[in-house]
Amino acid sequence: MKILVCITHVPDTTSKISFTDGNTKFDKTGVQYIIGPYDDYALARAVELKEQHGGSITVLNVGEAETEPTIRKALAIGADEAIRVNAFPSDAFFVAKQIASVAKEGAYDLILMGRESIDFNGGQVHSMVGELMGLPSVSPVMVLDIEGSTAKIQREIEGGKEFMELDMPFIAGCQEPIAEWKIPNMRGIMSARSKPLQVVDPTDDGVQADVEVFELPPAKEAVKLVDPENLDELVNLLKNEAKVL
């Protein structure tokens, strides 16, 4: 089974978010970058599926050279080879086109990625890739099992889940509890250094959604503490001051 896992290179979930250059650029100072947590689930499941069914894992990132340590980490976790499309991932449409173009070349059985990136939270790329390739896409996937050429999937919906079956190839946007995050071991880290990482040029497709400026939410006022012995006052505040009850 040939699996393609698409990963994002994003600020750690504990990062302080701030901007520079008149709020037009993300401030990378002191920020640690990681594999997107949802992509990390996709990768972990890919490693398990390879253990069960054999095959190979290719990891793909659309990003500039700075993302290579993140890609190497994915190789250390268990991907066999990597492709980096050398371009800034400007919007979902652009990224989806790059992924679809790599995926068409590789004839993968399964294309996995996270349900969304944790920087722009768009959650659009898997469906766009599916549409571009004329394939089904399913997200957010919590259970993914393969039997022969068929997949059995559980997808989360509001207040519950959907059980589905479909034939490979398809695209899945993953989330927990599809697998547990894998931490690279020493052997993985050593071997990752020599695994192939191919850099390819982007197809020159335009961007449709362009961020002009960033904003931060207004600072929160200090909390109003209410005495646990005076909960009537709390109810009163919620009703008459905040007007939320």
Binding site: F120, G123, E162, Q208, V223
Partner: protein, 318 residues
């Protein structure tokens, strides 16, 4: 030319977030056509009309009665063409998101998601999108002629004086290729208030010690008509179902009131709740980080405070 709004029906009823989409489209474009699939309960047409739509394209084809992402995307693209719509508005959801992304490719539209307010059209078309899981916003310019907007909850309030909508039966072309995914079963909590739609949320964390202690959370929720949520460790330990998990890697909520009980307020949890209008934190540790993100707080033992709070609320309800 009318804007198109996708109205999801949940057991025949228009979802509140979908009615927000109708009202949003009507503010932007004036004239709105809604599109809905499957059985529609009595009175829903009036609500959709009041929210701002003058017409509802109603798809009653049996094959499309249950949600099908690819087929709905095809149908909605066809409807956009038919209506000459340059704008599609829908609410973010497990159905709306993938449908919108596919329609964007089919119609060559520019798409923005997590939109939090009406667009700025003074110079082109710019929308404000929530990013970094609510920690920032991106003012995003959409340049294509066709545009698709996925709304975050509470981007706009639902109109009640729009008008009346007429129904038009719509039978979109169906393509076998759109039926490759076979939904074998659907498990859904019934009768509960759905977390992503909820206006009030009561959430519990590890501080509650075990699933057997959720009774008081459910009672508080019931007293105010709230949905229940939880922190990630709580769903990881299976004290609560996964679809209640709130935060960076779970459901993002934006209710008017979020009540957090025995949750420390880790940054990944806050990421899912920071667009709530008002936050009340109940925690025995006055140093808990959640108090920094809260509007109101009570420092003390949840096992004493929560039942008392429920009583106080019931007393004031009379």
């Amino acid at each position: 030319m009318a804007a198109l709004a996708f109205v999801e029906l949940e057991e025949g009823q228009a979802k509140k977030s979908s009615l927000e989409a109708v009202s949003y489209a009507s503010e932007v474009e004036g004239s709105v056509t809604a599109i809905s699939f499957g059985q529609m309960a009595d009175g829903e047409l009036d609500k959709i009309g009041a929210a701002g739509a003058s017409k509802v394209l109603h798809v009653t084809d049996e094959k499309l009665a249950t949600p099908n992402i690819m087929a709905y995307a095809s149908a909605i693209s066809e409807a956009m063409n038919k209506e000459g719509s340059n704008l599609l508005v829908l609410a973010k959801s497990s159905l709306g998101d993938p449908v919108a992304a596919r329609v964007a490719i089919k119609t060559n539209a520019a798409m923005a998601t997590n939109v939090t307010e009406l667009p700025d059209t003074s110079d082109g078309f710019k929308v404000k999108c929530s990013i970094y899981t609510g920690k920032a916003f991106a003012i995003t310019r959409l340049s294509s002629e066709k545009k698709i907007l996925g709304l975050k909850k509470n981007a706009i309030s639902i109109k009640e004086d729009g008008g009346t909508a007429e129904v038009e039966a719509f039978s979109p072309a169906t393509d076998d290729g759109d039926f490759k995914v076979q939904v074998t079963n659907r498990e859904k909590a019934t009768g509960e208030i759905l977390l992503p739609e909820a206006d009030l949320v009561v959430s519990g964390g590890r501080g509650l010690k075990g699933p057997e202690n959720w009774g008081m959370i459910e009672e508080l929720a019931k007293a105010i008509g709230a949905a229940t949520g939880c922190s990630k460790p709580v769903s990881d330990m299976e004290w609560r179902p996964h679809h209640e998990h709130v935060g960076q890697t779970g459901v993002k909520v934006s209710p008017s009131l979020y009540i957090a009980v025995g949750i420390s307020g880790a940054i990944q949890h806050l990421a899912g709740v920071n667009s709530s209008k008002c936050i009340l934190v109940i925690n025995k540790d006055e140093e808990a980080p959640f108090f920094k993100a809260a509007d109101y707080g009570v420092v003390g033992d949840a096992f004493e405070i929560v039942p008392k709070l429920t009583e106080a609320i019931k007393a004031q309800q009379g």
